[in-house]
Subunit: 345 residues, 4 copies
C-alpha cells in the first residue's frame, strides 16, 4: 500500500485525488489546502481523506510515502524540497520549478535520498502522444520541422506568462517525441494588459540539425486551437488534440528530387523538385485517461525505486528552455544558447 | 478603349487574359511568352490576340496603353522599366520587384511620366479582405495581434523563398487592413532541400504600439491552412480563406478588467481579469472574382490617371519588409529596422 | 429538505447522484441496484448514501419524497407506479414508459395523488435547445422542415431499437421547440444483427401544415453526427451538438419570390424564385450542465406541487410517436395516424 | 477525327465545349442554342465553332458524328431521338429522359442503328467514386446501408423536383458502386413554394438483401452538405465530396458477436455485441476532371462502337427509380415496386 498526500486542491488537485483513488494499492491519506471552502467540498465527496491547512502534518505522517504538489509554480520548489527532506517522494505539477537551479537542487536531493521526483507532463501519457512518438521514430524519416499552435481564450495566470502556462505542454511533448535536444531558443511575446505577464508568445527552438521547432501560445485567441504539424523527409503528421477521435493523421506526402532532363540541367544545374501525395492514415488511439496511467507509473516507481518517464531531469530540460525563452523575450528575440545537456537522455 | 499587352503566359497569365476580356472597354492586343507551346494553347482559345516572343513588338505598338507583367520576380523591374520608358502603364505581379531600390525607381519613373504603376495584390480586392478592413477599423478597438498561417504542400519556386512567394500575400493584406506600419521585422527560416531557397519561414513584425504581427509560411505542410487570427480590445476575428462561405467570423470576446474586491486588493494590488464570451457573427461577403475588380480598377486608373489601391508605394512597402526579413533570416532572426515610411499612407 | 432515492446505478445513475448532490436542499438517502459491485463503487464515493437491492426499503422510508428511476425501459412503469402508490413523486429516464397506455396510467395516478411525474428529457434543459426554441418562435417565420441526423457507433441495446434509444431525443426536442404537433408518422428501419432490434431507422413526421420532420438514427455509423437543419420562411438554423461552442448557427438565408417580367410571365405565368444569402449569427449559449438545472426544477416542483417542463404528458406524447413509428416500421413504412392530443399543450 | 455538336449552351454546355476541346481527335463543329446572347459569348471564346439556333443544321452536317444534349430534361427525348434518326450518337445530360418509356425507346433506336447512347452520370467518372466502388467491392463485406445527404441553398428548377435534380446523382452513383439493384422505392417530399415542384425529398430504396439505402435532397438548406455514409459488415466508409482532398475515408470499425459467458447465456440466450474501432484510412484519389475522362470514353465508344460505362441502360435504371419515387411521393410514401431489371447488370 502506497500512502499519498495531495497538496493543493484548486483546479488540478481534484483530478489527482480522483485518479489516485482508482490506482490499486494506493491510499490518499491527506489533502492540504489553505482555502477551507475547498476542503469542505472535498470532505463531502471523500470523507475518508483527512484534511489540513498545515503541510507539516502530512510530512510528519509515516503512512505517507509520497506527496503530489498542485500549487502555484512559485511554491513548487519549497514544498517539494521539504517533502524530500521528510523522506517523501514527490509528484510535481508542470513546470517542475520556477528556475533551473531549483530543479537541479530537487534532482540532487532526491538522488541523494533515493527518492522519486516526477513532473506532471500529462500529455506524454496520452495515447495520441505515445503514438506520435512511435510514428516520428519509425516512419517520418529525417524531421524537418515541428510546429505547434496552442491558443484559446484562456485564464490569465497572474504569476506566470502564457509561455510557462501553455508552451510548457509543447516543450514536454517535444522532449518526449523528438530524439534531438535544442541548442538554443529565441522568443517574442507581448503583455497586452498592464501589470500582467505576456499573454501571447512565439518560440523558436534551434537544433544542430535540419530540424526547426516553433510554438505559438496565446491566451487571447477567439477560438481554441491545439494543432501540431510535423514534417519529415518521408512522411508528415498532423496532431490535432481537439479532433474527437482522429487526433493523429499521418500523410504519405513530401517532395521528391529528380535530376532534371539533360537539356534543362545544362542551363540550370539543378534538381527538379516533384511532389508526392499519397494516402492518409489515422491510427486508432488508446483512449484511457492519461493522468490515471501517469499516476500508476509514479506509484510503481515509488514502490520499486525506479525512475518515471517524466523524471526530474525531464522537468529540468523543459524549465531550462522556458527560462532561456523568457530571457530571449526580454531582449526582443535574441537567440539564447542552452547549456549542453549533461543529464543523459 | 484601353489596349493591353500581357507579358508571361505561365500560371497567372491566363487568368489575366480571361479577366481582361471581361472588363468593358478593354482590348487585349498582345500576349508575349518565350515558350511557344504556351502561345499555341492561347491561340486556340483567343485567336484574336496577337502572340509574340519579342517584348519590343508590344512596346512599339501605339494601341497598347498598358502592360501586365506575369513573369518571374527577377525580371519584373527590367520589363516594367522598359514599358514605362515606352510610355506604357504597368500592372506587375506580386512582389512588385526583387529589391526596394528597383521599386523606388519604378515609382519615380512612373511619377515623372504620369503613368500608373499597379501591383497585383489580389487578396485586397476580395470581398473577405475588404470586409476585414471595415471590421478592423470599426469594431475591433485597439489591435493586439495579427497572426497568419499560410501553409500547404506547395510548388517550390527556384528563384524566391517561401517568404517572397507566400508571406507577400499576408504583408499586402496587412498593409491594406491595418492602420499601423511596422517599425522592424525579424524572421527565421530554413531550406530543407540543398541548393533551394527557404521552404519554411516565420516572420515577426514589430510596431510602435501594442500590435504584434506574425506570419507562418511553409511549402512542406501536409495540409493546406489559410487562417488569420486578429485580436482587438473589443472584438476578435478569424479569417479562414478555405471556408467556403463563412470566411470572416467576428467574435464578441475578450477580457474585462475589474478592480478586485477590497480584501483581495490589499493583498495583491491587482486587477481581476474577467472574460467576455459573446455572440459570433459571420457577415455575408461579396463573392465576385477579385482579379476582375482589380483589373477594372487598374483600367480606370490608366484612363483617368489616378492611383490604384495597390500602387507602386504599396508594392514598395511590402518589398521593404521582405528584404528586411530576408536579411534577418540570414542573421538568425536579428531584428532589422525598417526605414521610416516617407510615402504618405 | 427534499429526500431522494435513486433506482438503478448503471450508466446514468451516477450522473443523477452527482447532480442531486449539487442541488441545494436535497438529500440523497438511498441508491438501489441489483448489482452489488455497482453499489460497492458507490459506497466508496458517497459513504453517506444508504445502499440496497430492495426497492421496497426506499418506498417504506418516510424521508424519501421522490425517486429517480434509471433502469431499463421495460421496468419504468412498474417501478414508477409502485413509487406513486407509496406517495413518492417520480423522475423517470427517457422514454417514460414502454407503451402509451403505461404512460397514461402513470399520469392519471400522479394526478389523483397530487404527485409529480417528470421525464428525463435532458436535452431540453441545455442552453442550445433553449436558445433554439427562442429562435424558432421569434425569427424563423413559418417552419418548413426539421431534419435531424443522430448517428454513431453506439452501444446496442438489447431491449429497445435505435429509435427508442436515440430518436427519443429528437422527439423530445421537437416537442419542446416546435409549436406544432405531428398528425401522423411513418418509419423504416432494419436490424442487421440477427435477434437484435433495429439498429438503423428513418422517421418521417407528418403535420397539418407545411412542416415536414425527419430523423435519421443509426448505431452502426463510422462517425458521430448530431446535426439538425431547420428551415423557415425567414431564416434557417443549423444545430450541431458536437460543435464545441457554436452549436447554434442562424442563417439569414432563404428564397424570395418576385413576379417575373411581363414578357416572361406571359409565357410562363410563374414567379421568379430568387435567393437571399445574408449574414450568419451564432449566439453565445448558456453552458451550465443541463441535468443540474433539470433536477433543480424537478425538486422545486416536488416542493411546490407544480408541473415540470417535461411532465408526464410530454413523456406520453413522445412515446405515442415511438409506438406509432414502431408500428409503421413493422409495416414497411405505412403512415400511422397519431391520436389527437387531448392533453393541452 | 470525331465531329461533335453541342445542343444547349446554358449552365453545363460551356463545360462540355471546354472539355471536348481537350479530348484529342475531337472537333466541336457546332453549338446550338435559342438564346443569341449565349451564342455571342461563345463566339468570343471559340470563334472556330459554328453557332446556330436551328438544331437541324447540325443533324444535316455529315462531319458531325455525335451530339451532346445539355437542354432541359423535358426536351431530352425529342432531341436525342432526332439525332439518332439522323445517324448521330448521343451524349445526354442526366437524367437521360423524363420517363422510362422514353429511355427505352432511345435504347432501342440506338441499338437498331448501332449508335451509342451515353448519359452524363458525371460523378461515376470522379476519382472518388471509382475508389468508392473498389472499396465497396473489396473491403466492406456485406453492405448494410447507404445513406446520402445532398442539400444546399440551390437553384430551384421550374420543371423538375429536387429529386430529379439532385437525387439523380446519388442514384447514378449507387447504380455504379453497389452490386445490388433495388426492388422497390418509397419517397416523401414537400413543395414549400406554391406552384413549384418539391424542394425537399427523402427516398428509401428497398433491396432483396440486408441493404437499406436512403437519400435526403433539399434545395432550401442553409449549408451545403454532400455526405454519404456506407456501412458494411467489415468496414465503413464516409464519402464527403466537399472535403478538399480526403473525400473517401475508410474506417475499420464495426461490431463483433461473441457467445456470451455460459452463466449469462443461460439467462438470456443471446450474443454479446462488441465493438471494433480500428484505424482510418483515406486513399489518395485521382484528381483529374471527371467530365474530361467521361467525354474521352464517349468519343472512344463512338469510334469503336462499344458501350460507355453509363450507357442508355444505366440512364434507364435511374429514371425508373425516379419515376417510381415520384409516384410514391404523390401517395404519401407508399412503397412502389420496381420492374425486375431485364437488362443484365
Amino acid at each position: 500500500m502506497v500512502g499519498i498526500g495531495v497538496i493543493g486542491y484548486g483546479y488540478w488537485g481534484p483530478n489527482l485525488v480522483r485518479n489516485f483513488y482508482d490506482v490499486p494499492g494506493v491510499q490518499v491519506h491527506w489533502v492540504c489546502d489553505l482555502r477551507t471552502e475547498r476542503l469542505a467540498r472535498l470532505r463531502l465527496r471523500y470523507p475518508a481523506v483527512e484534511i489540513t491547512d498545515d503541510f507539516n502534518q502530512i510530512l510528519n505522517d509515516p503512512r505517507v510515502d509520497a506527496v503530489a504538489i498542485a500549487t502555484p509554480v512559485s511554491t513548487h520548489f519549497k514544498l517539494a524540497m521539504q517533502a524530500l527532506r521528510a523522506g517523501k517522494s514527490v509528484f510535481v505539477e508542470k513546470p517542475i520549478t520556477a528556475t533551473t537551479q531549483q530543479a537541479e537542487r530537487l534532482i540532487e536531493e532526491a538522488d541523494r535520498r533515493g527518492l522519486v521526483v516526477a513532473v506532471d507532463h500529462t500529455f506524454i501519457h496520452t495515447g495520441a502522444v505515445k503514438k506520435l512518438r512511435d510514428i516520428i521514430q519509425k516512419d517520418l524519416g529525417e524531421i524537418y520541422y515541428y510546429d505547434s499552435v496552442r491558443v484559446n481564450l484562456g485564464l490569465f495566470q497572474h504569476d506566470v506568462s502564457v509561455m510557462w502556462d501553455l508552451a510548457v505542454h509543447d516543450l514536454s511533448i517535444m522532449d518526449y517525441v523528438l530524439g534531438a535536444r535544442p541548442r538554443a531558443v529565441s522568443a517574442t511575446g507581448m503583455a497586452h494588459v498592464a501589470g500582467q505577464p505576456e499573454n501571447i508568445a512565439y518560440l523558436n527552438l534551434h537544433f544542430d540539425c535540419k530540424l526547426m521547432a516553433h510554438v505559438h501560445v496565446n491566451w487571447l485567441a477567439p477560438v481554441k486551437v491545439r494543432r501540431t504539424l510535423i514534417g519529415g523527409s518521408n512522411k508528415m503528421v498532423v496532431y490535432d488534440d481537439l479532433e474527437p477521435s482522429e487526433k493523429i493523421k499521418v500523410y504519405d506526402r513530401g517532395i521528391t528530387l529528380d535530376p532534371m532532363a539533360p537539356k534543362a540541367s545544362e542551363r540550370k544545374k539543378q534538381m527538379r523538385i516533384g511532389y508526392r501525395a499519397g494516402d492518409m492514415f489515422a491510427p486508432q488511439l488508446d483512449v484511457s485517461e492519461a493522468l490515471g496511467s501517469e499516476l500508476s507509473e509514479f506509484v510503481a516507481c515509488v514502490e520499486s525505486g525506479t525512475q518515471p518517464t517524466a523524471d526530474g531531469a525531464a522537468g529540468l530540460r523543459v524549465v531550462r528552455i522556458l527560462e532561456a525563452a523568457t530571457k530571449s523575450m526580454a531582449s526582443h528575440g535574441a537567440v539564447v544558447e542552452l547549456p549542453k545537456d549533461l543529464v543523459p537522455a
